[in-house]
Amino acid sequence: MRTNFMKILTAVAAGGLMVLGLGAGSALAKTDLLVYTAIEADELAKFKKAFESDYPDVNIKWVRDSTGIVTSKLMAEKSNPKADIVWGLAATSLMMLGNEGYFQGYAPKGVKKLGKLYYDQVNNPPQWVGQRAWIASVCFNTVEAGKYGLPLPTSWADLTKSVYKGHVIMPNPNSSGTGFLDVSSWLQLMGEDKGWKYMDALHNNIARYTHSGSKPCKLAARGEIPVGISFAYRGAKSKNKGAPIEVIAPIEGIGWDLESFAIVKNTKNLDAARKLADWSVSKKAMKIYNEEYAVVAMPGVAKPVKNFPPGILSKMIENDFAWAAKNRIRILNEWRKRYDSKSEPKKKK
């Protein structure tokens, strides 16, 4: 009896160890490049594959989260940065971090071929280089709107009308880059006073704020909410999948930001980081950017993307990145003070 018991115990232990052993032991002589990014998860595998097929000696390891989270994570690690390169993060965030001395300049091979607006013109060599623009849009679920009798909104002002009360969701700008570019664009379009007044009015109609910038559109696509303030890529993607939504670019103009990269100052993997930087401004990379985004940093590459709102390019505001970067923290704190305390149970009448 005793021996059988021991046998079973040994077998169980051995089995357990084998399972545990499977995880280990796939270490090749590649450089692991730790890349912090805010690019949507459904695109990351594609970029990794394309880059690594050109540079097989580098292994990208993504740390992905929403823009605000990646930004504050980088800030928190300032004294001891973990990332090698930040890639696909809002230019405003990179400029803010750059002002803190976070990055080292590098001119990737071919950076001159990019439009002047799309990379750092203050520092030489540039500290940050833009890849493509992501642009605000409103996702509007026509089926749900029909149920509540909601008209199709065409402007930001429309969204403050009482008919939309409780039917609008937007991302929290503290965690979401999309949320921040909305807020920053309203403040730039309307001026600070009117901008905050606008948000006060909008706040009355908001059902809730979400963590990520894509979630409002995904919720609208699923009919959880009629109106989701989000960005064009997510809207087009959901519409392509068959969601009953319209992707709208409000007439006043729409906020946007540049997905950009910057090499962290004390990276131990400078070579690999520069390889990714070089690759990221290549025509090949630009073509991949264009698969989902309508505006890329290299002129003459972009082709129209299916289901982007018509005329979206002409509605992009003249975005003052430097202003947005400088005021980012102040704006976010003000926003939190005004709207994050929506903690009392809402009395709905």
Binding site: F5, G16, G23, A41, S212, K215, K218, K342
Partner: protein, 575 residues
């Protein structure tokens, strides 16, 4: 406890001939004490020091200067944060009352009625244990959200907010509360009921004079456990909380959203207060519970009563349908192409590679983490409990160890996880190399679930007569042989229970590990959270289902193993 007679290994000079009878400390005892101290040190590193780091951080500013209570002042003067205290207390109180009432009736039906399918009802009620608390919340959205097929039941109210949180918490803690009440109910004395009946008391009177007083401590204990679980749970409010902030989500928002670790420390200290109070109160109540059941007690045998049994069956069936429904909806949602517009079935949501959260690697990591936790945790806990119970002398050390083993119970997972960041990520900590690795997840999870496992082991060990040790010692059998040949085989059921408990909790836990995982050690339960955050609710449900299947499979294996091993090792229990 008889002192060991072991001449060969007696330390020279320690015992003089003719001295008053004194406990001899043999070499064996030194080994046992050494191991006990080692496990004690482990617990000090794994819980005391991190908590100290958390505490001191809450009194510091960003640069690490001591600023006294300034952070706490800021906390209570920020309306958004202090609302959360109120919200947390409200939610926890309401949910506790509801869940204890429901579990009480359910337990009453299981023990005091003659309804059919009792074991089925009991089994179904335990299903929520296999889920991360995020999953019932996700299911609630599919049921009661804007597109929910049961939305009409809310009469125009919104699931996102207090209603959703309460519903989710009730489902999440139901099995925990039910088990406590069931144990209390099964300890009642049938003779009291007979006496009550023969004295002509009505059913109602018997209920209030016999049933309720008999289980009052169990009910109070259940209430405290429910309250603590709910106020420290983060999964449910994260998913369905909407704009209704509670303390647990605030900790997460401060730390992950704002990287404001100091304020995170403050909120988690505040979160610690109700947890510690509830824990202390529960301990006091537990002490009073002893010896309700005397040796002469007769188990209560319910009498069939068609009307009462039918009502009870109906009630239990309703609860069981809700629980199975929650699981079924999550399963269905995970298999549907595009809810609610295209309900054709697909396995596409199980392709996690294009989604947040770490994909199938996260699932593999979770299994690896749960396996390590089960194996190492069970060894450490069982040996620790054995030494507390069976080693000789060294009362201070054993009492200290017992205290250390009880501590983790009072610490919410979020606080523990945050404490680990402060302690292990400090650059001057020699254990810094553990940060962002698999071992730290294992250590954290073992510590998080240490207390219940410890108590299970202690209970099992208390059933073994100390005579075994004395006899072995007088036969000059070294203690480790007795341990391996007697103690371990006798305790096989408890050992399996502990490893099961560790495994299932390691699969489902979110709260502590959410602060500690790295890109290489993403976990399935955290992936559920991250996919939900990104709006990928179908895939979040799919990963949740994978966790339920794995935990359920482990449970099944556990049942088979227990049966098989019990036959081999527990035959002595029967005559």
């Amino acid at each position: 406890m008889a002192p060991a007679v072991n001449h060969a290994e007696t330390m020279p000079g320690q015992i003089s001939v003719g001295a008053p009878v004194k406990l001899k400390v043999s070499g064996e005892d030194w080994i046992m004490r050494g191991v006990l101290v080692a496990i004690g040190l482990y617990l000090i590193v794994a819980i005391v020091l991190p908590l100290y780091a958390l505490l001191s951080k809450s009194f510091q500013n960003k640069d690490g200067t001591f600023i006294g209570l300034a952070n706490f002042t800021e906390f209570f003067s920020t309306p958004a944060l202090s609302y959360s205290v109120n919200n947390s207390l409200t939610i926890a109180s309401i949910s506790t009352v509801i869940v204890v009432s429901l579990a009480f009736v359910y337990a009453y039906a299981l023990t005091r009625s003659c309804m059919p399918f009792k074991s089925l009802f009991k089994g179904v009620a335990l299903i929520p244990i296999l889920m991360p608390s995020l999953l019932p919340a996700i299911s609630l959205i599919f049921m009661f959200g804007k597109q929910g097929f049961l939305r009409f039941l809310l009469f125009g109210h919104d699931i996102y907010g207090p209603i959703g949180i309460v519903m989710g918490e009730v489902i999440y803690v139901f099995p925990h509360v039910l088990m406590i009440i069931l144990i209390a109910m099964s300890m009642s004395d049938g003779r009291l009921y007979e006496a009550s009946e023969s004295l002509g008391a009505s059913k109602v009177r018997t209920f209030f004079t016999v049933t309720l007083p008999g289980i009052r401590y169990g009910l109070v204990s259940a209430g405290f456990v429910a309250f603590t679980l709910i106020i420290t749970d983060f999964g449910v409010p994260k998913v369905v909380g909407g704009q209704y902030n509670v303390l647990a989500t605030d900790v997460y928002k401060q730390v992950v959203g704002r990287q404001d670790f100091e304020m995170g420390a403050v909120v988690s200290m505040v979160l610690l207060i109700p947890a510690v109070i509830a824990f202390a109160a529960d301990r006091i109540v537990q002490r009073k519970q002893i010896a309700i059941l005397t040796a002469r007690a007769v188990p209560y045998a319910p009498q069939p009563s068609s009307g009462f049994d039918a009502i009870m069956t109906g009630f239990c069936a309703l609860i069981a349908v809700i629980i199975v429904g929650i699981l079924g909806v999550a399963l269905f949602a995970s298999l549907v192409k595009f809810w609610p517009y295209n309900l054709s079935l697909t396995l596409g949501n199980y392709d996690f590679s294009l989604r947040d959260g770490g994909g199938w690697d996260a699932y593999a990591n979770s299994i690896e983490m749960a396996a390590w936790t089960a194996v190492i945790g069970t060894c450490v806990v069982f040996i620790g409990a054995y030494l507390v119970e069976k080693s000789k002398g060294f009362h201070t050390g054993r009492a200290a160890m017992q205290f250390l083993a009880m501590m983790p119970m009072a610490v919410p997972g979020l606080s523990l996880g945050l404490a680990y960041i402060f302690f292990f990520n400090a650059p001057d900590n020699p254990l810094n190399f553990l940060y962002h690795t698999m071992p730290i997840l294992v250590i954290c999870t073992i510590t998080h679930f240490y207390t219940v496992s410890h108590l299970t082991a202690v209970t099992a060990l208390k059933q073994i007569d100390a005579e075994f040790e004395s006899v072995s010692a007088s036969l000059k059998v070294p203690f480790y042989k007795t341990f391996w040949r007697v103690t371990v085989p006798v305790c096989v059921p408890a050992i399996l229970d502990i490893s099961m408990y560790f495994f299932v909790n390691a699969m489902t836990t979110v709260s502590a590990v959410v602060f500690l995982y790295s890109p290489d050690t993403a976990l399935a339960s955290v992936a559920v959270l991250n996919m939900d955050d990104a709006g990928e609710q179908a895939s979040a449900a799919a990963m949740g289902i994978m966790i339920v299947l794995t935990a359920g499979g482990a449970r099944l294996l556990h049942a088979l193993l227990t049966r098989g091993l019990a036959r081999r090792t527990q035959a002595w229990r029967k005559r």
